[in-house]
Point group: C2
């Protein structure tokens, strides 16, 4: 039989040594993400795929769009989920908004600002960066002055810096950008579903997020939105979007009423995202924000009881992600390793210039619960006592 | 409480009208993809996420790489799964292999050849296309003559054209490309795991696939590989890869021994893909190819009994995807609609110049079973009798 298939079948490489069925360890995920998913979301994923043009699937896509608009507080028609992780949605904003030669002002106050600058450069942007110390936020005056100085086509800024735990206030920035004919691009990866966001009131033009933090879904599908102003810039492009997979012109035809095939959608992740967003709407946005704030405040009080200090001042501190200073003489990585080895708890280490100096502890979405705070604080106290 | 969160909380958009929990209809997916997943694969997905740098997760990534090398019959070190659908993996090959100004020869014999040409152009390639009728394959002489004429840096060709059902013979093409210092890029979306492939023996330099066809996994994570020759071209680039998310330089550091964070991996889809590939290795590649060939032959015989004709001649006909000619006077879409409405069976319609002229019927991976052929043929016979 093999000979009828092809002349080469005798030279086959051997399969790898026999592999065992999958075993997934149980972890409490209190790092910068992924977080544990709501069990109801995992259950929603546990179905056979259906077709990406099946009427039942198209209805789910519509639900996801409506729910994302609510979650972001926007009426943007172009609001959908990218078939990739948060970094793909991040890239989608730049791929669509930037034409070669456009000046892009990237406000860097942590690792993900650097990533935005890197990505924008690859799309041919003339990138200018504005910096502030890791652990602080920009003032509106600083940002307005930079707009005056650089006259960018796009200003990109991270709302919730996952590397520092800082919440960047955004009030007034959208109006300043609009006055400069500049699009405002905001990373909401670590804020969506956990920290107050009003995209339309803030006049945000482009935003993206991920599924596995405040939304309590599995990773791999990612919210994306662009305002009518951003759409107008897209329509004026002289060159096609360099990225076919993330081209909003093509994705609009699939997510919109035309329903033109673009890619085979990640259907099981859509099941999960719809369920995650539905549960969020059931809880209510404000109730959810309050839960995050209250759980975080409870955690911060507990940290103080352990003699530990937060890296970010209280008014700018994210409820979703806390950077905790590593006490002098303590090996940050040894503590993380011990928490994983003895307690199956994952926390994150510092990134970039905060490497070794902080732990990053997430209380996001489904995981924003007092019982998890108690579990973590007890384990952390015991580990710190040992190391 | 809301007042402490933000000054704007009073102006909140309302949530969508209350949504019901997810209901997923049960379909038999016999279109061009997605296909039904092996139930053991769906079960593997049904776990909480773990961290993308968790030691247990890194071990799964290694398993996936080994299993993909076996499935593709390659020893390429750079073999991994892209965090997106097959179109993202397609784009990954071009993004990494093409520098602006590179001549890329795209062999177009169906819809997906056109897509390759579109993507390559967006990366600044000087694209030349070679065409043959939809439903036929290129001869080696045609391809070698085009290499002589155009001297491309990359030749891109689809092994299994999902729009036509044609298997493109690849024997000898890799050697011809190598002699012309040209990289050979092959789409194996509808062949991997169902149709014989020997990437190394065929001297293929870049390849990609999807998860939801021959591999019987959910969609959203996609195989990608590049040869050492393609890596050498990547290393010689004067410009960075225009696509951050798919940049093999960065992904190599995450999938390789350095384990540098790049993106938050789609961990649940990795669970699923590992299980799908493990089941494939358990069955054995040759046994799996034979199963596909035998199921397809059984189907083709049954089509003849119904008086239906295949669009592609037998020697070039894919076992995974059959294009069936729509008889004169029959409304192709009405038949598909009826199969879905009355039998919950999905089949595909014709794309591009085959629109309305063929149905596309997939028997892929887990779905390559005689019982599904029987189910479909009976339903098709009944529907054709009615319309």
């Amino acid at each position: 039989m093999a000979a009828t298939l092809s002349p080469h079948s005798s030279a086959q490489l051997a399969p790898p040594a026999s592999l065992d069925p999958l075993v997934v360890p149980q972890r409490l995920l209190l790092g910068p993400g992924p977080s544990n998913a709501d069990p109801r979301v995992i259950a929603a994923m546990n179905h056979q795929p259906i077709g990406h043009l099946d009427a039942a699937y198209l209805a789910m896509m519509d639900d996801v769009q409506d729910l994302l608009r609510y979650t972001w507080q926007t009426t943007n028609p172009l609001t959908y989920a990218v078939a990739g992780t948060g970094s793909a949605a991040m890239e989608a904003t730049l791929a669509n908004a930037v034409e070669p030669g456009d000046r892009v002002l990237v406000c860097v106050k942590g690792y993900f600002g650097h990533r935005l600058a890197d990505m924008a450069q690859r799309y041919g942007a003339d990138v200018v960066t504005l910096h502030c110390p890791w652990g602080e936020a920009f003032t509106l005056d600083q940002l307005t002055a930079a707009l005056d100085q650089h006259r960018p086509a796009v200003l990109a800024i991270v709302h919730a810096e996952t590397s520092t735990g800082v919440r960047q206030p955004l009030e007034g920035l959208g109006a300043a950008c609009a006055a400069h004919d500049c699009l405002l691009l905001v990373d909401t990866v670590t804020s969506l579903g956990g920290v107050p966001i009003w995209l339309d009131q803030w006049q945000v033009d482009l935003a993206y997020s991920c599924s596995q933090k405040g939304l309590s879904c599995a990773p791999g599908i990612s919210p994306f939105t662009m305002s009518p102003r951003a759409e107008a810039k897209l329509a004026r492009r002289r060159q096609p979007v360099a990225n076919w997979y993330l081209d909003a012109n093509l994705l609009r035809k699939y997510w919109g009423p035309e329903r033109v095939y673009h890619h085979t959608a990640p259907v099981n992740l859509t099941y999960a995202l719809r369920e995650a967003l539905r549960l969020l709407a059931d809880e209510g946005l404000e109730a959810r924000w309050q839960r995050h704030q209250q759980t975080a405040a409870y955690f911060w009080a507990g940290l103080a009881d352990l003699g530990l200090t937060c890296h970010v001042e209280a008014s700018l501190r994210l409820p979703t992600l806390t950077t905790v200073r590593v006490p002098d003489g303590v090996d940050a990585k040894a503590v993380s390793r011990q928490l994983m080895a003895d307690y199956n708890i994952e926390i994150g280490g510092g990134l970039g210039e905060l490497g070794g100096k902080v732990w990053r502890i997430g209380l996001m979405g489904y995981n924003s619960q007092r019982q998890h705070v108690d579990t973590l604080l007890q384990a952390l106290g015991e580990v710190l006592h040992k190391v």
